[in-house]
Amino acid sequence: MNKVVEKELLSENVVKLVVEAQAIARKQCPGQFVIVRTDEKGERIPLTIADADRERGTITLIIQRVGTSSCKITGLNPGDALADVSGPLGRPTHVEKLGTVLACGGGVGIAPLYPIARAFKQAGNRLIAVLGARNRELLILEKEMAAFADETIIMTDDGSYGRKGVITVGIEDVLKREPVHLAVAIGPAVMMKFTALLTKRYEVPTIASLNTIMVDGTGMCGACRVSVGGKTKFVCVDGPEFDAHQIDYDEMIQRLNTYKAEEKLSFDGYLKSLS
């Protein structure tokens, strides 16, 4: 059992939880994730470690409500406990000094991007953050990112904040303007797909962090498999980061839809159980 010690609403649908997990806090590196199960009947779902406090023995999770499991977990309050938290899983981000790094985050993808961007900054890179959200309410972690980024560009689909337009518009402006040595893209699969197409044109090496469906998170099931450069890879052990220019996004997007019908059934039942 892992106790929730803090909770904060970051936007209408995004919740930050600080959770006790001593051993994981000690070991985690940017880019890694945990597998969480809220209760005895719960699914095992992957969530990125957005931050960690070794002294307190806690990790920070930032969760967007999209269905049953994410709603269950964001419904917890300080004092409640998660049934299981295991990790840290996945390979840590390979951080080095390269020059200029462009950190591109879409929606809740900004959460996993945050510790990675910070690590690149700490490694001595110039760091430009491009953050995208559908509207102002849904934008998260802007202040936290701006605190260390050399420049922060905000894009909203409806123009309610920052510049109006999709995230790739903001990214392209930077690519046109100055040399970029690495781009890191994390967000919805479509966003990563179009970011990768764009940076490919500018020949900027790019990594994407994938959010496939998982079960164990230790390489045991193959639920998380994706095609990278024509080869099948397991996101949980070979990733979650891959060369963004090699990923078969269409296959990945299809696989994310595997349980559309079941998810709806489950979520309707969940909503009913609340009322």
Binding site: S86, T218, A223, V226, R255
Partner: protein
């Protein structure tokens, strides 16, 4: 663990055994028919996950026990990888002392209720029973083993041995499958402080996430774990050794010996076109969703699974049989085994193949998938297979399948389960410096002691053998415990 013939002899020479043996002639004994395991009707059981074999009644068990001739040189024992004193426990059943029979089993086998159910007896103990020479069906050793241990559990009369010399020495087991459980039980009995670290949220490895409820009820597995807890073993769930904690960290915390029983959990795919389509599972994922995550109770449990109507399972081993029988229980109208060799070569237990057939599973042998075809949403719709012929025997003595040119055709499917085997998970071997690893990814050990190239690390079960059996994993755990004790006793204090 070779048995001591003198012990066997003394056991057999007890007064009551002599009398019991004399009470019925060998001729009368061997004239009795072998008991049949009562089972649920195929139609009834296919609708749910209840255990198929319902177990012998007392009367049946005693009658079957009478068939055992209590041989002076029992050949059956050599067929059992842990050398259970087979006539010893069977004669206690004949005598009617079922609890004593269970205790006799536990002297050598920590998990008799499990082995009685899942051991491939037909190629182990029972294959070596003297009845084979008489061209008669062997004594049903497995059924009797299950019977005795079930009696003990149901009576709630499980005796936990008192532990005399508690040692301050701490040892760790990585993984909680049958290899580690056996190791842990043995070390705990010797007084060591044992901690078992398991990556998943549930204990017991394949016994929990792989073998389905209808063959091995999870309540049995849980009571075996409770027994180990009563012995003083500590279990730590959700700990991935190599990630959450390293062997190095544990050494610093004072652990002095390590047993790696991390299994062979990495699923193999066939790398044929279209294999990443929606609806294509590894058998590990399929069974894990159902057994560990209880997807068969979705939406009451949150984990979903595709409930296919036309399911093809690729492979011919236990994993494939468990998967296809699971598919039947999830409502498949057509459930198929697709196997590239013939039925004779299937590694699955005969009982499982038989049960699968009773449940309506179709067997497409000498058939191999070469491509999957998906609809425009990416869901698998058809599989292209080709027919195989049998060529010359390969290294394993099985005839090698050869492609029959131009024989391919399409089969409509909406779910495919790939159950063609597993490899050792590289996580552990990768995270420990100095371990010797074979080209198959298994950990190399000294076969006599199960010691690895790193002196304080021992290993056993599937991580050493590749996919093998429960009882072999248990045998390794036991052997490693004995060798680790020697190692710890010889080690200079404080070193």
């Amino acid at each position: 663990m070779p048995v001591d013939p003198q012990d066997l002899h003394a056991d057999r020479g007890q007064e009551w055994r002599n009398e019991l043996r004399a009470s019925l002639s060998a001729k009368e004994r061997s004239a009795l028919p072998r008991v049949r395991m009562p089972e649920l009707d195929a139609r009834e059981r296919s609708a749910g996950f209840r255990e198929v074999n319902t177990g012998l009644s007392e009367e049946m068990a005693v009658r079957e026990a009478k068939r055992c001739l209590d041989c002076a040189a029992p050949t059956c024992i050599s067929g059992c990888p842990v050398n259970i004193n087979i006539p010893g426990f069977i004669k206690l059943i004949e005598k009617g002392d079922f609890l004593a029979a269970a205790r006799k089993l536990k002297e050598t086998n920590a998990l008799p209720a499990v082995c009685g159910r899942v051991c491939p007896q037909e190629v182990q103990c029972e294959a070596n029973c003297v009845y084979q020479k008489m061209k008669k069906p062997p004594v049903a050793i497995g059924y009797l083993e299950r019977f005795a241990s079930d009696c003990e559990r149901l009576a709630g009369d499980v005796v936990v041995p008192a532990i005399e010399n508690r040692s301050p020495v701490r040892v760790a087991a990585v993984g909680s499958g049958p290899a580690s459980l056996t190791f842990a039980g043995q070390m705990a009995k010797w007084g060591y402080r044992v901690t078992v670290f398991e990556a998943l949220h549930e204990l017991a490895g394949v016994l929990s996430y792989g073998i389905p409820e209808f063959r091995l009820p999870k309540s049995i597995v849980r009571s075996e774990i409770a027994y180990l807890e009563a012995l003083g073993v500590t279990f730590e769930r959700n700990v991935i050794v190599g990630k959450t904690i390293t062997i190095e960290d544990m050494r610093e915390q004072g652990y002095q010996g390590f047993f790696i029983g991390s299994g062979a959990g990495l699923p193999k795919f066939m790398h044929v076109p279209g294999e990443n389509a929606i609806g294509i599972y590894s058998s590990n994922e399929y069974l894990t969703r159902v057994n560990l995550m209880k997807a068969y109770q979705f939406p009451s449990y949150d984990t979903p699974i595709v409930r296919g109507k036309r399911v093809a399972v690729i492979g011919g081993g236990n994993t494939a049989m468990d998967s296809v029988r699971t598919a039947v229980r999830l409502g498949a109208e057509k459930a198929m085994i697709v196997y590239r060799r013939s039925e004779q070569e299937m590694p699955a237990r005969i009982e499982e193949v038989h049960h699968a057939k009773e449940e309506g599973v179709e067997f497409l042998t000498l058939t191999n998938p070469i491509e999957y075809i998906a609809d425009n949403e990416g869901r698998v719709q058809q599989m292209k297979v080709q027919k195989m012929g049998l060529g010359a025997a390969d290294d394993s003595g099985r005839r090698r399948p050869v492609v029959i040119a131009g024989s391919d055709y399409l089969i409509d499917v909406d779910t495919v389960v790939v159950g063609v085997g597993t490899d050792p998970n590289p996580l552990i071997p990768r995270s420990i410096r100095g371990l010797e690893v074979s080209k198959w990814g298994t950990i190399v050990v000294d076969e006599a002691t199960m010691q690895t190239a790193v002196p304080d690390i021992f290993a056993g079960g599937d991580i050493v053998r590749g996919g093998a059996t429960v009882i072999l994993a248990m045998g390794d755990g036991k052997k490693a415990a004995a060798a680790m004790r020697d190692y710890l006793l010889k080690k200079p204090a404080g070193g």
